[in-house]
Symmetry: C2
Subunit: 231 residues, 2 copies
DNA sequence: CCCGAACCTGAGCAAGCGCTTAGGGGCTGT
DNA sequence: ACAGCCCCTAAGCGCTTGCTCAGGTTCGGG
């Protein structure tokens, strides 16, 4: 599903910005390493690319198989249905995103430091792995009833992590937040939407976006900034 | 395309939250009034509902026709293709959203007042008309090359409006914004994403979300708040 | 009373969809 | 050498898709 929006870099030919899910490997401990055998992983990586480019419903099993250099039938040896493929992608993706958030939330430090760290890492993840993130964040509705319920549970945990940090900041007098639930929602919404607009060919690196967003979120909660300014 | 995310209200049976595009009429001067004849409007309204619920690619022309109480063939009397239907929806939707933004940006007042007004109205629009907004904001990629280019141009104008206000605020010393382009991007991203998570059955009204977001955005740009707090 | 225009339908076409099935190569261990 | 297993393909089934087309209904004007 190709999202080219706002002003982040000019709109050039469709798909020209695309980074393949395989390329995204850089800087991470083998991104789909848990998927075996190797043929299944190749299919899954191809599916991530295809789903991200065209969307789940517009992607055909023949396309996925073709990208993996296999016949359409090969897909059904490793996955029961096309929907199961999406489910595995979505589940692994959510678990990884949640892990990123959890890791930062569990560090030592002030609430502001932890919130900034969580946003920075979470946003960087969504930017670096925007191909995966796009599928994970925007194809939820294509899942079947049970699978969707399972994934939504994972999402609630992300929400809980962010809310906890903000609550602690308020309790310790670091933050000024009239509406914790609403602000939590807005913070996560902001981070997640990075997957939609981020463009690998754009002018910003994932690190820069993470830094910018960490600063913006600290302002949203009325925290002291790194440079010492107040409220 | 059903997005049920984060913690805004529990996830109940799918589609139960849906407000039809027809119902959304309330409080606006006939929302699809420019679409004639009446049969074409009925088809278009049905298409908005269907696209918002299932997504463009997962919606069949038979479904759209069925919702309008017509045969599939009737659709092709009023629209050349299914894609043309999406294009008309997308164009009208973008024009209305942009109009909302423009109206607030052109008012008198400080940059902070205008930015708050613009965000409040833009967010309220995305919440109240989230069915339409979801199609408008998240089905861009389903458009053909030329149609997409046309719509992207409209989007750039939204960006320019927000950027102008922020620039003026910085110039007048009202705002403290290190990265105007990035902050503009973030503000619009935040507003647009409301269409994804907003749930009519949720606990927040469009007005409340608009108010919350206007406050959050003023904090993001380091403005004085309505209550007189600083930076 | 009929005309032409506007609008709509029933039936269906060609293409493409997700998925299945029968069968065949190439490993492994014995 | 060969059985047993895993992995894969060619072919294609049954169905749905976007879309078409010949024909029918309704209606205002002459």
């Amino acid at each position: 599903m190709v999202f080219v929006l706002l002003t982040e870099s000019p709109v050039d030919g469709e798909g020209s910005w695309a980074m393949s899910a395989a390329e995204e490997t850089t800087g991470e401990d083998t991104p789909w390493g848990e998927v075996t055998p190797e043929a299944a992983r190749r299919l899954l990586v191809a599916a991530v690319d295809a789903f991200a480019e065209r969307g789940y419903h517009a992607t055909t099993t023949r396309d996925i198989a073709g990208r993996s250099g296999m016949s359409p039938a090969a897909l059904y040896i490793h996955f029961k249905t096309k929907e199961e493929l999406l489910h595995r992608i979505s589940k692994i993706g959510h678990e990884r995103a949640l892990h990123v958030l959890d890791t930062e939330a569990d560090r030592d430090g002030t609430a502001a430091e932890r919130l900034a760290g969580a946003v920075r890492s979470f946003v960087r993840w969504h930017a670096e792995r925007h191909t995966t993130a796009r599928v994970v964040q925007y194809e939820l509705d294509a899942l079947g009833e049970e699978h969707r319920t399972e994934i939504v549970a994972l999402r609630r945990r992300s929400d809980a992590v962010v809310r906890r940090i903000i609550n602690e900041g308020v309790r310790d007098g670091e933050f000024d937040v009239p509406d914790v639930a609403g602000t939590t929602l807005a913070v996560l919404s902001l981070c997640i939407d990075v997957a939609r607009w981020f463009n690998a060919q754009g002018s910003r690196t994932p690190d820069e976006v993470g830094e910018l967003y960490a600063d913006l979120v600290l302002r949203m909660v009325g925290a002291r900034t790194a440079s010492g300014r107040k409220q």
